[in-house]
């Protein structure tokens, strides 16, 4: 455990330094624009899998949390010109509260009903925002970026770095959960809720905890998106595409290990970016759908599961 902890944090530090150096050296804007989206999907997939993967409660409401994050930032910018950090932290708090409320209302339901409830949540919140004039209603709203904070001389580069920080935060939390009693409890209740209860696992409390943590992260990850796009409208902020992509990335990567969603998001995120540039963004959805079907049929445990099987299906967890 000890050594793998050190390895993990060294890896995270190297990653952040590399990202930082990139923002200082690379002049061209495009890598940051594209990279931001990939980082955002990595963070989303990792955050999603805390509830959807570890606990097995498939949340179709990623876009609800993401959109609330976006609109928290929009509101704070318009009302108070609040700095980015305040936007993100506030979004996390709101996401946590939202996760708590959603969890209380729905986590007593079994799998599919929970999933349906999360779709309903998305629709309700999106409709509400559409009718909220202060943040632009259905038409959307333009947002002006303030000057970037040094040492960044460009706002997109700064956002790129901030999103990388969110990735590290999400991964660190997800990894901690997996290796702790919380992860073991979630895995147990995913396997069999009654058996878990009768083994001492407080299933409802653990599911709520997972829902709160996952919700807080999903919302926080959405917040910087307002500044990234300099524009927000309900259609794109609450776009179902976030829910579907995030879910697909997590499941394709595999949710039994914290690294699965990262692998899935890099793979799918990069493919999507390439397709958007070379062909069209419509093809994305098609590719996503095909890959999801292939994996659900051929490798239900995702890439992580495939790797484990190839390695002889021996050791679990660890690192």
């Amino acid at each position: 455990m000890k050594r793998s902890n050190i390895a993990f944090w060294v890896g995270a530090a190297v990653f952040l330094v590399a990202i930082f150096v990139m923002t200082q050296v690379v002049g061209n804007q495009y890598p940051f624009f594209a990279g931001y989206v990939i980082l955002q999907f990595i963070a989303l997939a990792v955050a999603w899998s805390i509830l959807g993967g570890y606990a097995g409660y498939v949340n179709f409401g990623t876009s609800a949390f993401f959109g609330v994050g976006v609109y928290t930032a929009v509101f704070l910018t318009k009302a108070f010109e609040a700095p980015l950090l305040v936007q993100i932290v506030t979004a996390a708090v709101i996401g946590a509260l939202m996760g708590f409320a959603l969890g209380l209302l729905t986590l007593r339901m079994q799998g599919i009903f929970f999933s349906i409830a999360t779709i309903a949540l998305t629709i309700i919140i999106e409709t509400t925002v559409m009718n909220w004039r202060f943040v632009g209603g259905a038409a959307g709203i333009q947002i002006a970026r303030p000057p970037a904070t040094p040492p960044f001389d460009n706002y997109v580069q700064m956002l790129f770095f901030v999103q990388a920080l969110l990735v590290v935060l999400a991964v660190a939390i997800s990894r901690y959960i997996q290796n702790s009693w919380i992860g073991r409890g979630l895995q147990a209740l995913k396997d069999d809720e009654l058996a878990a209860e009768c083994t001492g696992v407080p299933t409802l409390r653990l599911k709520l905890l997972a829902c709160v943590i996952s919700g807080a992260l999903l919302c926080a990850i959405g917040a910087p998106s307002a500044m990234y796009l300099q524009f927000a409208n309900p259609d794109s902020a609450f776009n179902l595409n976030y829910s579907v992509s995030t879910l697909a990335m997590s499941l394709i990567g595999g949710t039994s290990h914290w690294s699965g969603p990262i692998i899935g998001a890099i793979l799918l995120g990069t493919t999507q970016q390439l397709l958007t540039v070379t062909i069209s963004s419509e093809v994305n959805v098609l590719v996503l759908g095909i890959m999801l079907v292939l994996f659900v049929v051929g490798a239900p445990e995702g890439i992580i599961g495939l790797v484990r099987k190839l390695r002889g299906n021996r050791k679990e967890g660890g690192t």
Binding site: R184, D191, A196, E197, C198, T199, P202, T203
Partner: protein, 246 residues
């Protein structure tokens, strides 16, 4: 209620009723179980044995009646709270955590029910102890899906044991086992009983019930039809009818 017992019952079930829709699965069941007792629970198929266990462990809410454990009313408590107070069970159809190894199955119990101030190392030792007792030490790192029927039964008992129970309820842990395997599991339960764990054993195999129990209770259609020493209950007219009839 003839004379005042010196000892409080470990478990007191008072006027328990459980209905499924219009069907009464348990009808006003009352029984006391003393600390250290080996209690056999028998009854024909569908008589309500598993339902009673589900009410004791908290898997089912009850329509009426109370369950007292060590003088505390646990009727409103969720199953995990009851487990933490010392009630553990196995399942008639085994319910292992399928994505885990045998060792990890036990670690769930140790993580969540073994008390707060137990170090990781101590938990690991406790786990290996239990697996050794249960004859599963060599299976520690095997996936729960790869166990044989006896091993699965033993693992369920081991997992229950890892919660540090005061009361262990075994729901037909011997069903479908060969006669040598039945003896093996029975010996395990006997050895647990000798270490201060009160045991309720549900079983259809009569020799096992006779050998094991201090006291036997027979349910039929949700009602207690006989309770007493094993030979009393076996000799009871209504018990014989319940088993022969229908």
């Amino acid at each position: 209620m003839t004379s005042s017992d010196a000892q409080l019952p470990l478990l007191r079930i008072a006027s328990l009723t459980k209905r499924f829709g219009g069907f009464t699965a348990l009808d006003n069941v009352s029984v006391d179980i003393s600390p250290g007792e080996r209690f056999g629970l028998i009854g024909p198929n569908g008589s309500g044995k598993t339902t009673l266990i589900n009410c004791i462990s908290g898997a089912f809410r009850t329509e009426a009646g109370t369950v007292l454990f060590r003088d505390e009313d646990i009727t409103p408590l969720q199953p995990h709270m009851r487990t933490r107070r010392g009630i553990a069970r196995s399942f008639q159809i085994p319910r292992p955590f399928r994505s885990m190894t045998v060792a990890e199955n036990l670690m769930v119990a140790l993580d969540f029910a073994a008390g707060e101030h137990v170090s990781v190392a101590q938990r690991h030792d406790a786990m290996m102890d239990i697996l050794t007792q249960m004859g599963l030490a060599s299976k520690a790192n095997v996936s729960a899906t790869q166990l044989s029927q006896v091993e699965l039964r033993k693992m369920e008992l081991a997992r229950a044991l890892a919660t540090h129970p005061k009361l262990l309820i075994s729901d037909e842990a011997m069903a479908g086992l060969s006669s040598s395997e039945v003896d093996e599991v029975l010996d395990l339960l006997m050895s647990l009983a000798s270490r201060d764990i009160t045991i309720i054993m549900i079983e259809h195999i009569m020799q096992a019930v006779m050998r094991f129990s201090d006291r036997v209770m027979c349910l039929d259609a949700g009602k207690i039809i006989a309770i007493g020493t094993p030979s009393e209950v076996m000799g009871n007219q209504r018990v014989q009818e319940a088993y022969l009839g229908t």
